[in-house]
C-alpha cells in the first residue's frame, strides 16, 4: 500500500453518495464498497462518517430508506434516490465540473496568458 490516500472533501461526500445511488438502491456498506472501488481505494472515507451523512440526506428528502434483505440474506437498510435527490445530484455535479474546470484553468495557466495584462 504505497499509494497516497486522499481525504474526502467536506460536502463532496454527499455528492458521491448520490452518485453511488444513481442506478440502484444500496445499503451503507455497499455504497462505501462501490466508492472505494470507483476510486481505486485512493479516497479515504471513515465508515462511521457515512451514516450521519446518509441520515441527514434522508432527512433532507434527497434519499429514502427501506428495510430489505441483503445479498447474504440479512436485514439491511437500503437507500434509494428520490426525485429531489436526482435533481440535487445533477446540480451538484454540474457546479463541480465547472469548479474543477475553472480551478484547473488557473492551475495550468502559462506565463504567456498573464503577460497580456497591461
Amino acid at each position: 500500500m504505497a499509494r497516497q490516500e486522499v481525504d474526502v472533501l467536506q460536502g463532496t461526500l454527499d455528492m458521491l453518495v448520490l452518485k453511488a445511488l444513481t442506478w440502484d438502491r444500496m445499503h451503507g456498506y455497499s455504497i462505501l464498497a462501490w466508492l472505494r472501488q470507483a476510486t481505486d481505494g485512493e479516497l479515504r472515507i471513515e465508515d462511521a462518517a457515512l451514516y450521519p451523512a446518509l441520515h441527514r440526506m434522508e432527512a433532507r428528502g434527497l434519499i429514502e430508506a427501506e428495510w430489505g434483505l441483503s445479498e447474504n440474506n440479512r436485514k439491511a437498510k437500503f437507500y434509494r434516490l428520490t426525485a429531489r435527490g436526482r435533481r440535487e445530484l445533477r446540480a451538484e455535479s454540474e457546479s463541480w465540473t465547472r469548479y474543477v474546470a475553472v480551478i484547473g484553468k488557473v492551475m495550468s495557466a502559462g506565463r504567456a496568458a498573464g503577460a497580456s495584462v497591461p
Partner: protein, 905 residues
C-alpha cells in the same frame, strides 16, 4: 409523540421489519443500532473471508468502522428530529382535514351553525368584556414604579371608621417617627378651582399635595419637572399640569413650561406636564399644586382632611408597617389625649385600597357572565347532540372503514373547536364593542376605568374561554357517539339498517334533559339575581327622601377668597344672587346650602350642649354633620318643621345665633327631651351659644341608599367660618322650567355681579343621586341582560328538547291518535313531561340561587337576598316560559298523521 428511547416494541418481540412497516416513526434507536451493526458484520465477514479468525475479525471490524458511539448518537438525533417533524406534519395535516370537514358540514346546516355561533359569540363576548374590566380595574398594576410597595395610611376614628382622613398634625408625627417607610406624603382630595386663561374662566380639578408625594410615587414629568423636596419652601405658586389639560387647554404646546397662569385669582407658574398615564389621586385631576411648609401646621389635630400615601422602605412589610403605626398612634394618644384618644391607624396596600369597594361588584358581574356562558355551552351541547343522532351512521361508516375511536373523537372535538373558534372570533368583536359601551355605562366612581382596554391578557382570556367551551360542549356528543358505538358492538350493518332512531333514544333524551335542566337551573340563578336587583331598584325609586327632590334644580358656586374675604361679603354675594334667582321665570323658591347633595362626603363639626357633660376630653360631643343654609331653605326643599320654627330673614349676622336640629340628631343627643330652647356651642362648654329654635324632619340628602344622618343646621348669614365660601343654590321650579334656560338665566345674573365667576353643574337635584345608585344600576342592567339572554337560551333549549322528543315518539303519538286519543291528551302528555323537567330545574335552580344570592347583599337596598316574592316571581316566570316553549312543539304532536308514521316505520 414517539419516544426514541423506548424499547417497548422490541421487548414485545415484534420483528424489526414489522416495526418499520408501521409507516415510519418506528423505533429510531433500535433501527440505528441495527443498521450500524449490519455494517460491522459485513466488514467482519470480509475479514473472515480473507482468513481471519471470527473473534479477531469482529474486534478488527469494530476498529475499522471508526467512532461507533458518535455515529450512533448523531444518527439517533437526526432520526428523532425527523420523527418529531413527521408526527407534527401528520397531526397538522389531519387537523386541517378535520377542520375542513367541520366547516363543510357546518355549511350544509347554516341555520344550525349560525345559532351556535351567535349563542357562543354572545357568551364569550359578554364574559370577555367583563373580564377586560376586571383586568383593567382589579388586576393591572398601578401605573407607578414598584406599585406593590405603595400604601395608604388612614386614621381609625373612635367611631370605628377605618378610612378616616388624617389631620396635618398626625401626618407630620407619622412622617417624622415612622421608620418602615422610605417616603411619605399628604394630599388633599380633588376639588375644583377656576383657571382664567385668555380672559375665559373655566373650572378645573386640582389636588394639592406635599412635594414628597411625587417622591413616594417616583413620578417623573413628561415635560419640564415635577415637584422636588425644595418646592415646599417656596410660595406654593407653582403647578404641574396633567397631560389631558395640557392637550385640551394648551394645544400640547411644549413652551408651556414657565408660563404664568391665573388660578382662583392668584398667579401660578407652570413647572411641567405629567405623562398621560399619571392619574392621582383619581382620574380627571387637571393640575397639582404643592402644599408648602407654611401650610403645614404640625399642631393641627382637630381638623381631619388630608390623605396620606407612603412607600414601604426596602425590606419592610405591610405587617411591620402596621405594627409600627400602631405603636406610634398609641404614643400620640398618650401625648395628645384631648384629640387622639380612641384613634388608631390603618395601613392598606394602595391598589387594594383603591379597588376594594368595587371588587365584589366586578366579581359578581364576572360570575354572572360566566354563568351565561355555561348556559350557552349547555344549549350548544344540546344542539350538537341533536345533530349527532343524524350522524350516527356517518360515524359508523367511518368506524367500519378503519377510523379508530381516537380518530373519531378527534374529528368531533376538532369540529367543536372550529365552531368555538368562529364563535370566539365573533365574541372578541362583541367584547370590543361591549367593553367600550360598558366603560361609558359604568358609574363614575369605579376607579381606574381608564386602564380598561382589550389587551393581550384579555385576548388570552377569550382564547381560553373559547377552547374551554369548545371542549366542554364538544365532549357531550363525543361521549354519546362513542358510547352508542360500543353498545352496538360497533356494528355497521345495524347502524346502516336502522333508518329512524329507536334504540337508545330514551337515553339520548335523558342526556339532553339533564343538559336542559342544568341550563334552566343556571338561568334561574341569574334571573333571581336580576330580580333581586330590580326589586331593590324599585325600592330605591320609591324611597322617601324626607324632602321633595323632584322639581328642584341645583347649581354650585364657589367664591375665590382673594376677592371675597370675610363672611359679610359671602353673605352679600349670595343674598344678591338668590334675590336675582327668585325673579327668574318658573322659579317659585330659592335657597342655599353648603352640603353637596347626592354626595356622601359631609362636613362634620363637634359642639358642646349647655348643661350636658360630654365624655370627650374636649367637652364637646362627637362631630356631627353641619349644614349651613340660606334663604327659605326648609320650605324650598320641602323639609317639614316638626317643632319650633324655621330660619327667618331676621336671623341675621347681628341677631342672636340660632340653630336647628333634625330628628336623628334630636334622638341622638336629646333622647326623650325637646331640643328646642337648649343651647349649643362650637367652641366649648362655656359658649358662645347658639339657641336651638326648631326640629326638622330627616332627609336622605347624602345618598339615596344611605340611612338619614343626624344634622345640625345654622343660617348662612350667621356662619363664623370665613373659609366656607361655597354654596349650592337650590331652586324650586314649576313644571314648565327647563334646566338650560335656568342655567343661562343664572349665568346672566352672575355676570352682572362678577364676570370672572363660573357657574358649575346646573342640574336637576334627582340627577345628583345618580352616582350613589350608579353601581346598583350598572349591576342591575348587566345582570338583567345576562338573565334575559339566559332565559332566551333556556326557551330555545326547551323548545329543542321537546321538539326532538315529539319527533322521536311520533309513532307512539300516531298510534295513540289512531286509537282515538284526543289532541288535548297528546298535548297534555308532552307538556306534562316538559313541566316535569322544568320542575326539577326549578328545585335545583332555586336551591342554588338561595345559596348564592348572598353575594349580592352589598348591592341590595332593603331587599333580603332571599326575598320570597322575588324567588316566587322568578319561579313562576320560568315555569310559564318553559310551558310556552313546550306548547308549540306539543301542538305539532297532534298534527301527526297516524297512517303516515306507521307506514314510515
Amino acid at each position: 409523540m414517539i419516544d426514541p428511547s423506548s424499547d417497548e416494541s422490541a421487548g414485545r418481540g415484534v420483528p424489526v421489519w414489522r416495526r418499520y412497516l408501521r409507516l415510519r416513526g418506528g423505533d429510531v434507536r433500535a433501527d440505528v443500532a441495527d443498521e450500524l451493526e449490519f455494517h460491522i458484520e459485513m466488514i467482519a465477514e470480509r475479514l473472515i473471508g480473507q482468513g481471519m479468525a471470527p473473534d479477531q475479525a469482529r474486534a478488527r471490524a469494530r476498529e475499522e468502522f471508526g467512532d461507533f458511539e458518535r455515529a450512533r448518537s448523531l444518527c439517533e438525533g437526526i432520526g428523532a428530529e425527523m420523527a418529531r417533524r413527521h408526527e407534527w406534519a401528520e397531526l397538522l395535516d389531519s387537523l386541517a382535514k378535520d377542520a375542513r370537514l367541520a366547516l363543510r358540514s357546518l355549511r350544509r346546516a347554516p341555520g344550525f351553525a349560525a345559532t351556535i355561533v351567535i349563542t357562543l359569540a354572545l357568551g364569550i363576548g359578554a364574559s370577555t368584556a367583563i373580564f377586560s374590566i376586571v383586568r383593567g380595574v382589579l388586576l393591572r398594576p398601578l401605573p407607578f414604579a414598584e406599585p406593590d410597595r405603595l400604601v395608604r395610611l388612614w386614621e381609625v376614628s373612635p367611631r370605628g371608621d377605618d378610612h378616616n382622613v388624617v389631620s396635618m398634625g398626625n401626618y407630620v408625627s407619622w412622617r417624622d417617627r415612622a421608620k418602615t417607610f422610605s417616603a411619605m406624603g399628604a394630599h388633599s382630595g380633588s376639588f375644583s378651582v377656576t383657571l382664567v386663561e385668555a380672559g375665559e374662566p373655566t373650572r378645573i380639578t386640582t389636588a394639592d399635595l406635599t412635594p414628597s408625594v411625587m417622591q413616594v410615587l417616583r413620578a417623573r414629568a413628561a415635560l419640564g419637572r415635577t415637584f422636588v423636596a425644595d418646592d415646599d419652601k417656596g410660595d406654593g405658586r407653582a403647578v404641574v399640569l396633567s397631560h389631558a389639560l395640557w392637550v385640551r387647554r394648551f394645544g400640547a404646546d411644549p413652551g408651556v413650561v414657565g408660563r404664568r397662569l391665573v388660578i382662583d385669582d392668584a398667579p401660578y407658574t407652570v413647572l411641567g406636564v405629567m405623562p398621560a398615564a399619571f392619574e392621582f389621586p383619581s382620574a380627571g385631576v387637571d393640575i397639582w399644586r404643592p402644599v408648602t411648609a407654611d401650610h403645614i401646621d404640625p399642631n393641627e389635630r382637630r381638623s381631619h382632611n388630608w390623605y396620606v400615601v407612603a412607600r414601604l422602605a426596602p425590606g419592610a412589610t405591610l405587617a411591620a408597617a402596621s405594627a409600627e403605626m400602631r405603636a406610634i398612634s398609641g404614643a400620640l394618644a398618650r401625648e395628645f389625649p384631648q384629640y387622639m384618644t380612641g384613634f388608631g391607624t390603618n395601613v392598606v396596600g394602595m391598589a387594594d385600597d383603591m379597588v376594594a369597594s368595587v371588587r365584589p361588584l366586578l366579581l359578581i358581574l364576572l360570575s354572572g357572565a360566566t354563568l351565561l356562558l355555561v348556559v350557552a355551552c349547555a344549549n350548544i351541547a344540546n344542539l350538537l347532540l341533536a345533530r349527532a343522532v343524524g350522524r350516527r351512521r356517518e360515524m359508523a361508516v367511518r368506524g367500519a372503514l378503519g377510523a379508530g375511536r381516537w380518530r373519531l373523537t378527534r374529528q368531533l372535538l376538532t369540529e367543536s373547536v372550529v365552531i368555538a373558534s368562529v364563535g370566539g372570533l365573533l365574541g372578541v368583536a362583541v367584547a370590543a364593542l361591549l367593553t367600550r359601551a360598558l366603560t361609558m355605562l359604568a358609574p363614575d366612581d369605579i376607579p381606574r376605568l381608564s386602564a380598561v382596554r382589550v389587551d393581550g391578557a384579555v385576548l388570552a382570556y377569550a382564547l381560553a374561554t373559547t377552547l374551554a367551551s369548545g371542549l366542554l360542549f364538544g365532549c357531550v356528543p363525543v361521549v354519546r357517539i362513542l358510547r352508542s358505538g360500543r353498545r352496538r358492538g360497533e356494528s355497521l350493518h345495524l347502524a346502516l339498517r336502522v333508518s329512524g332512531d329507536r334504540g337508545g333514544s330514551a337515553r339520548h333524551v335523558g342526556v339532553r334533559s339533564v343538559l336542559l335542566v342544568g341550563e334552566l337551573a343556571v338561568s334561574l340563578i341569574l334571573l333571581s339575581g336580576a330580580g333581586l336587583l330590580l326589586r331593590s331598584a324599585h325600592r330605591l325609586a320609591s324611597i322617601d327622601y324626607g324632602y321633595r327632590p323632584a322639581g328642584l334644580v341645583a347649581a354650585s358656586f364657589d367664591l375665590p377668597r382673594a376677592r371675597y374675604d370675610g363672611n359679610d361679603r359671602h353673605v352679600a354675594f349670595y343674598d344678591q344672587l338668590m334675590a336675582g334667582a327668585r325673579e327668574l321665570p318658573h322659579v317659585t323658591g330659592v335657597a342655599g346650602t353648603t352640603e353637596e347633595i347626592g354626595s356622601s362626603s359631609s362636613m362634620t363639626f363637634s359642639f358642646a350642649i349647655e348643661g350636658k357633660p360630654s365624655r370627650n376630653a374636649s367637652g364637646r360631643e362627637d362631630p356631627q354633620p353641619l349644614r349651613v343654609v340660606a334663604g327659605d331653605y326648609f320650605r324650598v326643599m320641602g323639609i317639614p318643621v316638626h317643632r319650633g320654627r324655621p330660619f327667618t330673614p331676621a336671623d341675621r349676622a347681628d341677631a342672636p345665633p340660632v340653630a336647628i336640629v333634625n330628628e336623628s340628631l334630636a334622638r341622638l343627643l336629646w333622647p326623650g327631651a325637646d331640643p328646642v330652647g337648649s343651647r349649643v356651642s362650637f367652641v366649648g362648654p362655656s359658649g358662645p351659644w347658639l339657641q336651638v329654635v326648631g326640629v326638622v324632619g330627616d332627609t336622605r340628602s347624602n345618598a339615596a341608599d344611605a340611612a338619614p344622618v343626624p344634622a345640625l343646621f345654622v343660617p348662612f348669614a350667621q356662619k363664623r367660618w370665613p373659609w366656607m365660601t361655597w354654596m349650592t343654590l337650590v331652586m324650586r321650579t314649576d313644571a314648565m322650567a327647563s334646566v338650560n334656560t335656568l342655567g343661562s338665566g343664572l349665568r346672566g345674573l352672575v355676570r352682572q355681579v362678577d364676570a370672572r365667576l363660573p357657574v358649575q353643574d346646573v342640574s336637576p337635584v334627582p340627577d345628583r343621586y345618580r352616582e350613589s345608585v350608579g353601581r346598583r344600576r350598572f349591576a342591575t342592567v348587566l345582570t338583567g341582560a345576562f338573565a334575559a339572554l339566559a332565559l332566551l337560551l333556556g326557551v330555545v333549549g326547551m323548545y329543542g328538547v321537546v321538539s326532538y322528543g315529539v319527533v322521536q315518539r311520533r309513532r307512539e303519538f300516531g298510534i295513540r291518535l289512531a286509537l282515538g286519543a284526543r289532541a288535548s291528551q297528546v298535548t297534555g302528555v308532552v307538556v306534562r313531561e316538559a313541566l316535569a323537567l322544568a320542575g326539577i330545574a326549578l328545585v335545583v335552580g332555586l336551591a342554588a340561587a338561595l345559596g348564592s344570592t348572598r353575594v349580592l347583599a352589598g348591592l341590595l337596598y332593603e331587599v333580603s337576598p332571599r326575598d320570597p316574592i322575588t324567588f316566587a316571581a322568578v319561579a313562576v316566570l320560568v315555569a310559564v316560559v318553559a310551558m310556552a316553549a313546550a306548547w308549540v312543539p306539543a301542538r305539532r304532536a297532534t298534527r301527526i298523521d297516524p297512517a303516515m308514521t306507521i307506514r314510515d316505520a
